[in-house]
């Protein structure tokens, strides 16, 4: 039995008491004997969940290089929260534990612009914790912000769910007890796409990497290099550029002179769009084969189907998976109904993160974070838009398939958004490293 099931009078007393005492005492993490009903105060518990509603803090880049993906994530979050509050059928299909609201409480949310900067993201989320008593925080497009938010979550004892984060470090050396990642990442992307590349492009190729200069870029580069060794692929050059580069000409001239056969472009967001367009201008695409190991939402729409035709990419979700997965169809229909466009993979990741969090809370029967974390760690299987998935308890990474796509020729497209053929849906189990291979130490529950 939890505090929420107790008789009315006691509940009212608890609510009044937590309002009086909450602000001043709770952040210091003191145990309050008066409320020691079942769990001690921890993080924003019980202040954040003592009313009729709970608050979720969302922080994503709405400006800058990663803004387009940030907006897509927001759409997914908002749709998921609406569905939770309405008790939508899709939520029930994902997990039979999900009913209306979360433990009967309405979910409210706030959105902040992280600008994809770690310090801005941490400030925004800290504000959600102190002012709104957020019971869950979510969102990121850059792994740099995801990793910083991880640390905040562990320190403040509030659960955090990255949005888009492709670095091995997020559930590797920078993993924390309080964070859970839905999306695919460097290692699974590389392991899924490498055999496809070797089979289709050939053996003993020379690679030119275009790498954004932070944890995401470096870990994707390492994993790709590692898994392409099997085909005898070697590195001709690695061009590292800062996040938010607008002119890639210097890097592209180096690539053009490197003698590489394949350009593996790890850049994300607007960096990916600009570097690919400019690579086309410099005659590199056409002479070398382009590969996108970690696909950016809206990439084909922005650079054009002609450039992406034939290009192999690894991704988390693509809307035509609705032909294969009934839940993808339901999700796409709901998304199209609300936003008049197809979801990208960020929106899907956001939606699933919220749904799986609600599922963990329902199973824990409390918002007390350690119990929610244990519910997550139990490896409970839920139905997702890409089939059955579950969290790995040892590093808090979702075991989920990686989607390998290939760009369609403009003439083969059946509609304006029909940019990719799904080449393969590679099951997640075989793609993941051993949980401790990247140095994950989860840390304490309390």
């Amino acid at each position: 039995m939890t505090v929420f099931d107790k008789p009315r009078t006691r509940r009212a007393f608890l609510q009044a008491g937590s309002v009086l005492a909450g602000g001043a005492l709770l952040p210091s993490g003191l145990i309050l004997p008066a409320f020691a009903a079942e769990h001690p105060a921890l993080g924003t518990y019980p202040a954040g969940s003592s009313g009729d509603s709970v608050f979720v803090g969302i922080s994503v880049p709405r400006t800058g290089t990663y803004a387009a993906s940030g907006e897509d994530l927001i759409k997914g979050y908002v749709l998921a929260i609406e569905h939770l509050n309405a008790g939508h059928d899709l939520m029930h299909k994902i997990s039979p534990n999900l009913k209306k609201g979360v433990l009967g409480k309405t979910v409210k949310y706030g959105i902040a612009d992280s600008q994809a900067k770690p310090n801005t993201a941490v400030q925004a989320l800290s504000k959600f914790i102190s002012e709104n008593k957020a019971v869950m925080m979510t969102g990121s497009v850059s792994s740099a912000e995801a990793v910083a938010n991880n640390k905040l979550a562990q320190r403040e004892k509030v659960i955090y769910l990255p949005g888009i984060s492709g670095s091995n470090d997020t559930t590797g050396k920078d993993c924390v007890r309080y964070s859970f990642r839905e999306c695919f990442y460097a290692e699974t992307a590389a392991k899924a796409i490498a055999p496809v590349l070797i089979k289709n492009i050939g053996k003993n190729k020379k690679i030119a990497f275009l790498t954004p200069d932070y944890t995401y870029g470096h870990t994707v580069r390492q994993s790709m290099e590692e898994h392409l060794k099997a085909g005898g692929w070697t590195v001709a050059t690695n061009q590292v550029s800062p996040l938010g580069t607008t002119d890639f000409s210097s890097y592209l001239l180096n690539v053009a002179n490197s003698g590489a056969d394949v350009v593996i472009n790890i850049n994300f967001g607007r960096d990916a769009v600009l570097s690919i367009k400019q690579a086309k201008d410099f005659g590199i695409i056409g002479k070398m084969t382009l590969v996108v190991p970690y696909n950016t939402p809206f990439l084909a729409k922005e650079v054009g189907a002609d450039i992406m035709a034939g290009v192999f990419a690894a991704t988390d979700y693509w809307w035509t998976l609705e032909e294969k997965f009934p839940l993808a169809k339901m999700f796409n229909d709901a998304f199209r109904g609300k936003y008049k466009s197809n979801p990208e993979w960020g929106a899907n990741a956001a939606y699933m993160q919220v749904a799986m969090w609600a599922d963990a809370v329902e199973r824990a029967k409390t918002f007390y974070p350690p119990e929610v974390i244990k519910a997550y760690e139990a490896g409970y299987k839920v139905q997702s838009t890409v089939g059955e998935v579950w969290f790995r308890g040892a590093d808090h990474q979702l075991v989920r398939p990686v989607i390998v796509t290939r760009g369609k020729k403009p003439a083969d497209m059946k509609g304006p958004d029909d940019y990719y053929d799904v080449v393969d849906v590679v099951p997640g189990e075989g793609l993941m490293q051993a949980p401790d291979a990247f140095g994950c130490k989860l840390g304490d529950y309390t």
Binding site: A68, Q278, G283
Partner: protein, 281 residues
């Protein structure tokens, strides 16, 4: 070396607009990056409607001149006699308003205009291959800078502008409406930003916040070249372009840092910039 020339040409054009406005009106225009961006979007819309790159360029420049004149009439002219901090705040605020307005109408996905057909493809320069449009940019910018130069140094308007910089009261007492001239100057500065904005679109697709990074680089260029000096902006732009591209050949991650290091060096040795004068009194 060569790549730096292309980078530098664009920077020179953007910075010249910034420096003309500052040199003449004494207003530090932090909305300049946003104006560069709006020029790009105006050109994009014109291209969507007409399909012509020339129309797009004309639209980007003329629309931005129009926005500049309206902006000067409604807001900026009330700030000529106010302290620099007020000018910085109001132009910074205007910049945010512009960026968010564009974001509201166009979203965050990037928009692009293809290079005109005569400038698509790649040119083999013998020592390297290079996108034809980027070569064309050098020519386009050179012509634009020449027009600006003639306007400022070889016309009566230019003479009044330069006299207005020296002594606005004296020019006014000669029966010339200085504020009208200031409006025109602001319009020309805005037009240079808008023109650069649309010329840059085929090189780098536009998003609402593309002006932010450009603004910072343009300021560095103005400081290196000498605040308020038109030839200084051109020289500064070319130097900055070379610094960025030469450093990138060795270690791309250091190129931005090197730009600021050179700016610091210039400020230490020549506090008024390479071609700057002793400043306004």
């Amino acid at each position: 070396m060569f790549n730096g020339l292309v980078l530098g040409a664009l920077l020179a054009l953007i910075s010249s607009g910034l420096t003309i406005i500052y040199g003449t009106l004494g207003v530090l225009n932090l909305a300049h990056g946003a104006m560069f961006m709006i020029g790009g979007y105006a050109g994009y819309v014109a291209y969507q409607l007409s399909g012509s790159f020339l129309v797009a360029i004309a639209a980007g420049a003329i629309f931005m001149m129009f926005v500049g004149i309206v902006m000067e009439r409604l807001i900026i002219r009330h700030f000529y006699s106010r302290p620099h901090e007020d000018q910085i705040l109001v132009t910074f605020g205007l910049g945010i308003v512009y960026v968010e307005t564009i974001r509201f109408f166009f979203g965050s996905l990037s928009k692009s205009v293809p290079a005109p057909s005569w400038a698509t493809g790649i040119t083999n320069l013998g020592f390297m291959i290079y996108p034809t449009y980027r070569l064309a940019v050098i020519g386009i910018v050179a012509i634009a800078l020449l027009v600006l130069y003639l306007l400022l140094y070889r016309t009566k308007l230019g003479m009044i502008v330069r006299a207005g910089i020296e002594d606005a009261v004296m020019v006014g007492s000669l029966g010339i409406n200085v504020y009208r001239v200031f409006m025109i100057v602001f319009g020309i500065g805005a037009m240079a930003a808008g023109f650069a904005g649309i010329v840059n679109v085929p090189v780098a697709p536009i998003t609402p916040d593309i002006g932010e990074a450009i603004l910072v680089e343009a300021f560095v260029v103005v400081v290196i070249g000498g605040v308020g000096s038109f030839p200084g902006a051109v020289l500064g732009g070319l130097i900055a372009g070379e610094i960025l591209s030469i450093t990138a050949m060795f270690d791309p991650s250091l190129s931005q840092a090197m730009l600021f290091a050179v700016m610091t060096l210039v400020l230490m040795l020549r506090p008024h910039g390479l071609l700057g004068s002793q400043g306004r009194s």
